[in-house]
Symmetry: C2
Subunit: 416 residues, 2 copies
């Protein structure tokens, strides 16, 4: 895409009320727009990141046989009353609204109840189980404060998967598999090294659960983590009991303490929702039994914010190749017609090679400003084409996350 055509522009300043690093950088680089605290619109570059993250998650979930659906935000209260999650005293972050006739509705903050209700249509026998359904869907949470940019939104995109099993044993098989799936996802997203499988309190669903925590000063959590063993405990849940219950010995671990961001969680729900809602199946003995459920969340917009927090440097954002909005930032410093033509040609050739290229073809913008913009936007490979490089049929290449600058021929770039 030609940068002259992109309607967004970089900004020197983020809004004064924006205190989080992720949103400051993303707003300044033109990825997102702040509608109000915790509520952000996604602009062309930002939407590309979101779609790339979604696609990686989708591939890994489909690989294990999950089926994608899309549920609604608007919710009638009956099924939430059945599980005691309608009242503000139990769930204090509902956004509520109502129909013209006065019927009270809520905006879903999660979807255990709606999906259990849907599945009553489709589950009758043990032969219908297990299966796994997920969605990428907008969640609404009426947070009292929202100061973490896109890491804690009032309206945000979440991937939530729900699994349905005959019993705990088959659930736990899938639960273990999902640990691996999540680790694969975070690794592909470029934050595998910093992300730890973390034992934690499982409330409100079960005694314990696992979270995935990514080390970052911007995090709201604190974990004790063992770098080598690649496991952690959420500090607030640290107790002698948790070790006993997980079958671990405290002395086997070498824990360090750090701030971290919860990027995913996987819960054993058991029959907590299926029982009150009547999601039953007939087992092999002809008996009616409650379906055994699990739920598995990843905040997609939070992940995007986390990646910014963890990988950015003092010049701007650093995207991993796997989710970058473009792979190459072709920055032209050409202004003479013959040079501009060569730069245009290089752009067209790269496009024909199916390379994803943002082409900074803007005229009348100083070189220093173009470099600063390029660093701020954070595309993995910067390629500079200028009268100077063209004198040797060359370009200057530099990876965003390295300092080494290299001059290579255009031929070499194209045959790479």
């Amino acid at each position: 895409m030609k940068q002259s055509q992109l309607f967004t522009k970089t900004r020197k300043e983020a809004p004064a009320d924006e205190v989080s690093k992720n949103a400051q950088l993303l707003i300044r680089a033109g990825y997102i727009y702040k509608e109000m605290p915790g509520v952000y619109s996604f602009l062309p570059l930002g939407l590309r990141i979101m779609e790339n993250i979604k696609q990686i998650i989708r591939e890994e979930l489909n690989n294990v046989g999950s089926q994608e659906i899309s549920m609604t935000a608007l919710q009638t209260k009956e099924k939430w009353e059945a599980t005691n999650r309608w009242s503000d005293e139990v769930v204090d972050n509902w956004f509520r609204t109502q129909l013209k006739n006065g019927t009270e509705l809520g905006l879903a903050f999660t979807h255990e109840e709606p999906i259990a209700e849907i599945m009553k249509q489709y589950v009758s026998s043990y032969k219908d189980l297990p299966f796994f359904a997920y969605q990428f869907q907008t969640k609404f949470r009426n947070e009292l404060r929202a100061k973490s940019g896109i890491m804690r939104g009032r309206e945000f995109l979440m991937k939530d998967l729900y699994s349905f099993h005959t019993n705990e044993e088959t659930h736990l098989e899938f639960y273990e598999l999902m640990k691996e799936v999540y680790i694969k996802i975070f690794t592909r997203l470029g934050i595998g090294e910093q992300t730890f499988l973390t034992m934690s309190n499982g409330q409100p669903f079960s005694k314990y659960s696992f979270e995935f925590q990514t080390l970052s000063e911007a995090g709201e959590d604190t974990i004790l983590y063992d770098e080598k063993k690649k496991v952690a405990i959420n500090k607030q849940d640290y107790s002698e009991e948790i070790f006993t219950d997980f079958g671990f010995k405290k002395e086997d671990f070498d824990f360090k303490e750090a701030r971290s961001i919860e990027v995913g969680d996987i819960y054993t729900l058991g029959t907590k929702y299926s029982e009150p809602l009547g999601l039953l199946y007939t087992n092999q003995d002809g008996k009616q039994v409650s379906v055994f459920m699990g739920s598995y969340g990843i905040g997609v917009s939070r992940l995007m914010g986390t990646i910014v927090e963890v990988l950015a440097d003092d010049k701007g954002i650093v995207w991993p190749e796997s989710i970058a909005p473009f792979q190459i930032h072709l920055v032209s410093l050409c202004s003479e017609e013959a040079d501009v033509k060569k730069a245009d040609e290089l752009y067209e050739t790269l496009k024909k090679q199916n390379k994803e290229v943002l082409y900074d073809d803007r005229q009348g913008v100083r070189a220093g400003e173009k470099f600063a913009d390029s660093d701020l936007i954070g595309i993995p490979l910067r390629v500079i084409i200028s009268p100077k490089t063209l004198a040797n049929d060359s370009v200057e290449v530099k990876k965003r996350n390295e300092t080494k600058v290299e001059i290579i021929t255009i031929d070499k770039l194209l045959n790479n």
Copy 2:
């Protein structure tokens, strides 16, 4: 995908309160789930249709240089007050909600105001114009009644594009282009023949606008259409004046009257929103001028409902190839191990050929039930494999929208 793995199942009956044909069929076939009137969740097959429709729209919009974004549902009231669209007396279908601190919010029913506000960040000079931005986004409209299935939703997916120009002249160039783009989209979606460019009242935006109306008894509109000239007038806007204003002569048209569904609309907004919101640019004379805007809508879920209404027959849904959830419905009537193995092999081979196949591998389901399910689900090509066809290394093929049944060899199917 193996049908035995698909968690949805066909149903004999739709919910008793569901009066629309589109939702009845889509619910019975397992495409959607009714949460409440006007609010539907999309199940695996239904989401595939939606994504296929979106992809066709996206391709055509990107082809003319549009940029995809995603705005928010939650809206603060200030910008809507500036354009006089906050009050219930002006816009009577707001869903309202509030933050914990009592701040009143609305759920967007459209996005002219939010996008004009965003663009104040990015438009300053005439050099920044024109550009076009669109989104696929969930709209909320608090309809008093919702009896048209997914054709009139309280929560529904819409494609809304907004264009930004220096003046009316350059706007109208794009406006004309969008007429062609829309016709291309509806043609690719299989309803081109039934869809008419329709002159209509442009309220609340301008005196006149164009709609795209698809002939259907299920429609809420009535149009006068000229089949040969491929134009129509919305009957409620029919007047001598409209002919004069559009520069037409009444006697040149051969109008028939019919019910129709509005599947798209394109509006000239002018400075109706840019002026009160202060979306200005500096023109070549250094003067500050309001940006000239247009907006262009397509209800994506409504389109899906329309296609069902228009193309379905008395046996069920008939999807056009362009958006079908799968291209081939491979229906196996095999139960002996050797035959099942051959059916499995055929499925695997088709998948390797990158064919999109729903494989009805269910055991213990009668042939008649499988055929009825296949007709209800509406995949374009049905391929039956049975002990009888296997005796001649053949399969039986039938197009969903034709009655002709053909026996062809498996070789021929695979080399087609």
